[in-house]
């Protein structure tokens, strides 16, 4: 049985895949589950275990005896879509939160922060997008000095 961390890593990997599913690095390589667990727990303590249980339950509905980590990437994406389109508003909102946290784990600054929360290296998402990060300004877009 997979741990909650493993299940949430499989979730993040579905949203932002890396090798062998994709050529460039993804959420699993930066252990995005650490970010996701932190924020789920800050919303409601114990929520990360609850989310793993929900994802595993939906996986079993899809293929009996399977947990979420056993599913293919496409099957996991299908589970996420079902969650985001669920008739219960709280579950739909949970699906939206999981997608948003998965995006943010890679394309936000988290993977560039050290243990003190200082930005010490380029986050993965900045490398993947080519964004140079926040700048003090762009001299080429400033006014030429008069005279």
């Amino acid at each position: 049985m997979a741990t909650a961390e493993e299940t949430l890593r499989a979730l993040a990997e579905t949203v932002v895949p890396g090798p062998p599913h994709d050529d460039t690095l993804g959420a699993a390589e930066i252990e995005a589950e650490g970010f996701i667990v932190h924020y789920l727990e800050s919303v409601i303590p114990g929520l990360s275990d609850g989310v793993a249980t929900i994802l595993d339950g939906m996986a079993t509905e899809l293929r009996e005896g399977s947990s979420f980590v056993d599913l293919s990437l496409d099957e996991r994406a299908g589970v996420l879509q079902r969650l985001c389109e669920h008739e219960v508003q709280d579950l739909r909102e949970l699906g939206d939160l999981l997608l948003a946290l998965s995006f943010a784990s890679v394309y936000g600054e988290w993977s560039g922060l050290d243990a003190n929360g200082e930005l010490t290296r380029a986050p993965l998402g900045w490398e993947l997008t080519g964004w140079p990060g926040p700048a003090d300004g762009y001299p080429s877009l400033l006014r030429k000095r008069n005279g």
Partner: protein
């Protein structure tokens, strides 16, 4: 810090509107106390430029919650509007606004506003001079591309601040003039906007600038310091108003003060001759309803949001959307709304573009993809970030009394019952939005976008813009405030935010109009009670 013990006027909320009316009234000679639920940030110290740190709804610097970021945000319940964006703190939502400050369209204001449009012009002019509003001289690459697309789509250039016909123009922005090139990109060598592109993430440009020389003119760096400079205004931060206090007089009910909680949970009552509510279009009706004030039916109703849509497309060349002020050019379409180019960091762009309502849908229009995208398809879109131009569509959404704010059953924070916000677009709003989406696609393709890459976000409604929940009007059955923004049912109680708007002003960004209205309301308060 000035202490004002017996204020003439108590202002609840020191954001885009509250700071303006506090400054105007203090300059008129009145003693003013402004209560602000959040902190007064120091941009140089607090604004990191990091998207998640600054903007996430859970524990960011800009969020609707206590100043202590380890505490949870204040909860809200929603129907049809998943994302409620508000920021506690001096400056309020101007802390994260794009600083686009056009006037409202004259047509819809002439139609539905009790004082019409012409009456607002001198007040617009005063705010434009005070902030100041500046039309930038140098467009960033993304905006140049947008302008090129407009011209290819046959859209004329217009220049008047009072927009009567469709056309594109450079944005009137609440941002200091673009700085001159200097040896060092920091104050005082550099004074003015450095085009760093972080308007929405939190402007601290240029580095080492004193508060009042911060380039983007959020009210925490403009109106609030001006209010303090009078020596007659006190801003109490970390103070959440929980009840409007009233008394019954021969002439009817009137406001006499406010009860509030401070950061430590201590409860205070502050008396004042006049109370001004300026907590925004969600919190102002929430406070009214929590205070159990009379409601003839219009309180909390008629919310408009401009229901945004976002279109992105890739180009064969670099666009670098992150360079320059967030939005420097716009195309206005009276009767429909407007379209503008907008530059965001990669995470914010991903959030608005790829977390929409539908799931990986195809195109039934000029776009080839629509809605949510995840997996390798998302990564390919993100890899093209630097070659992508994004346009925002902002709709003149129709007023519908069933959209608005009430109190949530069984959900509360430490202050009051939580607000329950409902928004569903009308059929007219949907068709105006589709018209603008087609126009935006035409602009992108005209600019040279690769047609197969056109993506439509299918965005849910949100409260980036929000107005109308305490509308002005002459009939108390269908409005809350009179044409001076004083409550019909409670004398000496005024409102100075976007909630008095009888409609969405035709679609343009609402901040300047709220500030002009607050300026006008200050003159009404002085005329009615202090002259």
């Amino acid at each position: 810090m000035v202490r004002v013990n017996m204020p003439d006027v108590l202002v609840v909320g020191c954001g885009g509107g509250g700071a303006v009316i506090a400054k105007e009234l203090a300059e008129a000679g009145l003693g003013v106390v402004a209560l602000e639920a959040g902190p007064w940030h120091d941009p140089q110290r607090d604004f990191t430029g990091l998207e998640w740190d600054m903007l996430n709804p859970i524990d960011a610097v800009f969020r609707w919650g206590p100043a202590d970021r380890t505490k949870p945000p204040w909860p809200r319940r929603r129907d049809g509007i998943p994302l409620l964006i508000s920021t506690a703190g001096v400056g309020g939502n101007t802390l994260h606004f794009g600083a686009n400050c056009p006037r409202g369209y004259p047509g819809p204001m002439e139609l539905d506003w009790p004082m019409g449009y012409a009456d607002m012009i001198p007040h617009y002019e005063k705010v434009e001079a005070t902030l100041p509003i500046v039309v930038p001289e140098i467009a960033s690459p993304k905006d140049q591309l947008f302008i090129h697309g407009c011209e290819k789509a046959g859209i004329d250039q217009i220049s008047a601040p009072d927009v009567m016909r469709a056309g594109w123009r450079m944005q009137p922005n609440a941002i200091l003039p673009i700085a001159e090139r200097a040896a060092e990109l920091r104050y005082p060598s550099t004074d003015g906007c450095t085009q760093c592109g972080q308007c929405i993430v939190g402007c601290r440009s240029p580095d080492y600038a004193p508060l009042e020389r911060t380039a983007k003119r959020s009210t925490n760096v403009s109106y609030a310091p001006l209010a303090m400079r009078t020596g007659r205004c006190e801003i109490r931060t970390g103070c959440f108003a929980t009840r409007i206090l009233t008394e019954q007089t021969r002439d009817g009910l009137r406001a006499r003060g406010v009860r509030y909680r401070d950061l430590d949970g201590r409860v205070f009552e502050q008396d004042a001759r006049i109370v001004v509510l300026a907590g925004g279009a969600i919190e102002t009706p929430r406070l009214w309803l929590s205070s159990e004030l009379p409601n003839t039916g219009a309180v909390g109703r008629n919310l408009t949001t401009h229901w945004f849509e976002y279109l992105s497309a890739e180009f064969p060349h670099q666009v670098e959307m992150y360079m320059g002020q967030t939005a420097m050019a716009r195309a206005d379409f009276p009767g429909y709304g407007f379209v503008e180019s907008q530059g965001l960091g990669p995470l914010t762009w991903a959030f608005v573009s790829f977390l929409g309502r539908s799931w990986n849908a195809g195109g039934e229009g000029p776009w080839t993809s629509k809605g949510r995208i995840i997996g390798s398809a998302l990564k390919r879109k993100m890899e093209a970030y630097r070659r992508t131009l994004m346009l925002v569509v902002c709709v003149d959404d129709e007023v519908d009394p069933s959209n608005g704010v009430s109190l949530a059953d069984g959900l509360a924070d430490e202050n009051n019952p939580a607000p329950f916000v409902r928004y569903h677009a009308t059929r007219t709003s949907v068709s105006r939005r589709e018209w603008l989406v087609d126009k935006a696609a035409e602009i992108l393709l005209g600019a040279g976008a690769i047609p197969e890459t056109l993506h439509r976000a299918d965005a849910s409604p949100s409260t980036v813009h929000m107005h109308g929940t305490m509308r002005m009007g002459t009939d108390p059955a269908t409005s809350v405030l009179d044409d001076g923004c004083e409550a019909h049912e409670v004398k000496r109680l005024f409102v100075a935010d976007t909630s008095p708007f009888p409609n969405g002003i035709g679609g343009p960004n609402p901040t300047l109009t709220a500030q002009a209205l607050a300026t006008r309301t200050a003159t009404k308060i002085v005329e009615r009670y202090f002259s």
